[in-house]
Amino acid sequence: MSKIAGIKNKSPETYPSSPTKSNVLQTLSKFNTAPVTVVNGSFTSLFGGVGPISFTAAVAGAFATIMVSGVLESASPAGPTTVAIFVDTVNVYEIQLEVQTAGAPVPFSLVFETGSLGVAGSHQVDVRAETSSGTASAIDTSVVVIVTSA
């Protein structure tokens, strides 16, 4: 009766090692319900004053799965608008969408998984947009980031 749960000096044969820890390092999210004006000529962050998501990968070789949703509309539609995911200021994935009717919201969704983020350290995820001409308005932008290790 010496080998019951909780007794010290237990043998590894009798008591298997603890379950492996999850490799989900962290989940992060942000949303911005305030409208953001999107212009032509430069990418504008859809998070406005909320700011991009920043995180620190505690281990080397982490990956990030990024999910974004939001709505775009325009008072005077004028061609396609590009919505892009930026990781550490690099445009890693973008889609184009077009608002056809003034005042009619167009929903969008982006999913992207990064490659290895490299050495452990700080990273930033942002969602930005740019019109091909004129202006548009982005609203209700939401992003979820799941950071996992290999």
Binding site: K3, I4, A5, S11, E13, T14, Y15, P16, P19, T20, K21, S22, N23, V24, F63, T65, M67, S69, P80, V83, Y93, E94, I95, Q96, L97, E98, Q100, V106, P107, F108, S109, L110, V111, F112, E113, T114, G115, I146, T148
Partner: protein, 144 residues
């Protein structure tokens, strides 16, 4: 010395049930090349076959559709597991050459060994054409 691993008659207090590892596996699915769509199924990304046995799979995908047809067309975007369409959405492209974004999310049941996941699309009208572009997604496999 009666309670060592492998012996019958062990007590549940001493030998807990096996727990899942808790490790999720993720893999990206992406295709930077535009895919021409017809009225028959067209793969938007390569078929995914490297799936862990017995895991559920959260399938996330986004992209853009466009048609040159002035009259507009409807496109069905499908998630297919082992040749079965498990989820689809229909996107209407009302205006020619106007990109329309789409997104899908679906979680599968636990899959058997050798299962495959495909993401495909087709126009709903015979003779209609469209293009899918900027396809990107992720499969998050989680232990059941």
């Amino acid at each position: 010395m009666s309670k060592i691993a492998g012996l019958k008659g062990r007590s549940p207090e001493t030998y807990g049930t096996t727990k899942p590892s808790g490790l999720v596996q993720t893999q990206p699915v992406a295709n930077a090349t535009p895919v021409p769509l017809t009225n028959s199924a067209n793969l938007l990304v390569p078929v995914v076959s490297s799936l862990p046995k017995g895991f559920r799979n959260i399938i996330l995908f986004s992209g853009v559709l466009e048609t040159p047809s002035a009259g507009g067309v409807q496109v069905e975007v499908q998630i297919v597991i082992d040749s079965v369409v498990v989820y689809f959405i229909t996107v209407e492209l009302a205006t020619a050459n106007s990109p329309a974004p789409f997104g899908l999310s679906f979680e599968s049941a636990a899959l058997a060994s050798g299962s495959t996941i495909s993401i495909q699309a087709l126009t709903t009208g015979v003779g209609q054409t469209a293009t899918a572009a900027s396809g990107s997604g992720a499969i998050i496999s989680t232990p059941t």
